[in-house]
């Protein structure tokens, strides 16, 4: 059943009252665009996250270990698959257009997936730190998201991401309790991934962020970022690792960790496709996409007009 609102004020009142928007509602164009852009970026991030990890899947140490890692990557790509469908239903771009824009370097995805997983330690750091950051963001969206189809998909995604985080934690603990070579490798990974993972939450939310106003997001970036800091700083320290933040301090009064000033320049560069591994990452994805176009063309022909 399609619903319509007389103007944006009526629509916002509906949202403020906890209203849930469905795909066939006559939602305001600006809301449709905002939801679409948000879900498209989430879908792209799931897929690019899978591609970041794929560099190391074939090298996973252990047969059953590799099966778990494969299952995780299957989940990530599966999330991308679901999210692209939810995004495509908004009628702005088809899945193929979204993928082609992504591989042409025209679309955004999370900053962390513009970095290269250089070692197995990086792979574990991603599963542990980055997945936790992504999960925290998704949980905050799920809590109060006004777009129904997205919220329903997030429920499934969040439950699977919880498993991934535990898998990452389990692997991190084996390294933390492991040999010097393992611990050194993970410390180097932490040095590389701590800040990008923290920056995944983005700079402080603007006072009039439409994503918050329209209940697409329900928590301010700085709040989520701080929760992550309060959890991971002591956790990593308890395993004997050093947090790569020279100005890290503990405030006795507030009883909180402060990582000091955050340099947002790397994030800005990265989101403008100038991240450390953006060119290779996008370039390889584009090359693979082009080299397999004959398969998609042949299958498209099978679909009755």
């Amino acid at each position: 059943m399609s619903r319509a609102w007389s103007d944006i004020e009526a629509f916002e009142e509906f949202l403020d009252d906890g209203g849930i928007v469905e795909v066939d509602d006559a939602m305001p164009a600006a809301y449709r665009d905002a939801v679409f852009n948000f879900i498209e970026m989430h879908a792209n991030s799931e897929l690019m996250g899978g591609l970041t990890e794929r560099d190391w899947i074939p090298k996973t140490p252990g047969l059953r270990h590799k099966m778990s890692v494969l299952a995780k990557t299957q989940d990530e790509i599966g999330h991308g698959h679901l999210l692209y469908m939810v995004a495509a239903d908004l009628g702005i771009k088809t899945r193929r257009q979204m993928l082609e824009d992504l591989f042409a370097g025209k679309s955004r995805f999370h900053n962390v997936f513009h970095y290269q997983a250089k070692t197995w330690g990086d792979q574990v750091a991603i599963a542990f730190l980055v997945d936790a950051a992504a999960l925290a963001s998704q949980q905050a969206v799920f809590k109060n998201c006004s777009y129904g189809p997205y919220r329903r998909i997030l429920k499934r995604i969040i439950s699977e991401e919880g498993f991934h985080m535990r898998l990452g934690e389990d692997r991190m603990m084996r390294i933390a309790n492991g040999t010097n070579a393992q611990r050194e490798m993970f410390q180097e990974s932490l040095d590389r991934w701590f800040w990008p993972a923290l920056q995944l939450f983005g700079p402080d939310s603007k006072p009039n962020d439409v994503l918050l106003r329209w209940h697409i997001k329900s928590e301010r970036n700085e709040v989520l970022r701080d929760k992550w800091v309060q959890k991971f700083v002591p956790l990593l320290q308890s395993y004997g690792f050093t947090i790569p933040a020279p100005n890290l301090s503990w405030d006795e009064v507030t009883r909180r960790w402060d990582v000091g000033p955050i340099d947002w320049e790397p994030l800005k560069r990265t989101l403008a496709q100038g991240g450390p591994d953006s060119a290779r990452r996008i370039g390889e994805a584009r090359k693979n996409w082009e080299q397999t176009s004959w398969v998609r063309d042949a299958l498209d022909e099978q679909v009755p007009a």
Binding site: K59, T60, H81, W120, G178, T179, Q182
Partner: protein, 246 residues
Amino acid sequence: MIALRDLILAFADDEHLIGQQHTEWIGVTPFLEEDLAFSSIGQDELGHAALLYELALELDDLAPSDTAIDSLAYERPSDEYRSSAFTEYTTNDWAETIVRHWVYDQAEMLRWINVTGSSHQPLAEIVDRVTAEEVYHRLHADAILDSLLANADASSRLVDALERLAPLVPTVLASVDGEDDLVKHRVIRQRTDTLLPDLVTNIDIRFGRTITAPTPSVGRRSRSSSFAPLMSRMREVFDIDPAAIW
């Protein structure tokens, strides 16, 4: 006993390597559903390899722990592997990959039928479990080939890929030493290399193309040139620190 162990290792190694090869394609197949299928099939094949390595460990009176499985899977000298050149081979493109997937699963089906009701009880016991999953691998490969072979351009790419793979096909059904005894003791129904005509017939029906006359049995004592780089990639993390547990 040596022949039985070799037979099981040959099967385990092929399952391990084909699963490994599938992992290389995740995220870069032609479309998302195919990425998901390859992740799923790769997990199944690695799982079958683990089951078969467990059977080999039982023959050695060793407990089938993950560490013991991994030592068989990753730590033998290359001349103690029993894999085939067909699964060791690194494909160059998606056409070769999907054709190998189809051919491998046909060969695998023939090998599982060949041990159905085996006198080696532990082997006979895993047949049902594995073949229940394998049905879906073949349905998947057949569904995509049904569509692609109906298209002139795609069909010619696939047939070219088949021609390139053809010289390696007999290796996946090569026998291990001593299989005649295994037939005599009803561990297997027939020598593995005598399954080859059935595979060639299935390929003929599927692709409308008879592949170049297969060579006689090539055995499983030596590795192809693809094996060393593949194994080095698989062992890269293990090699960082042999004492580490990951």
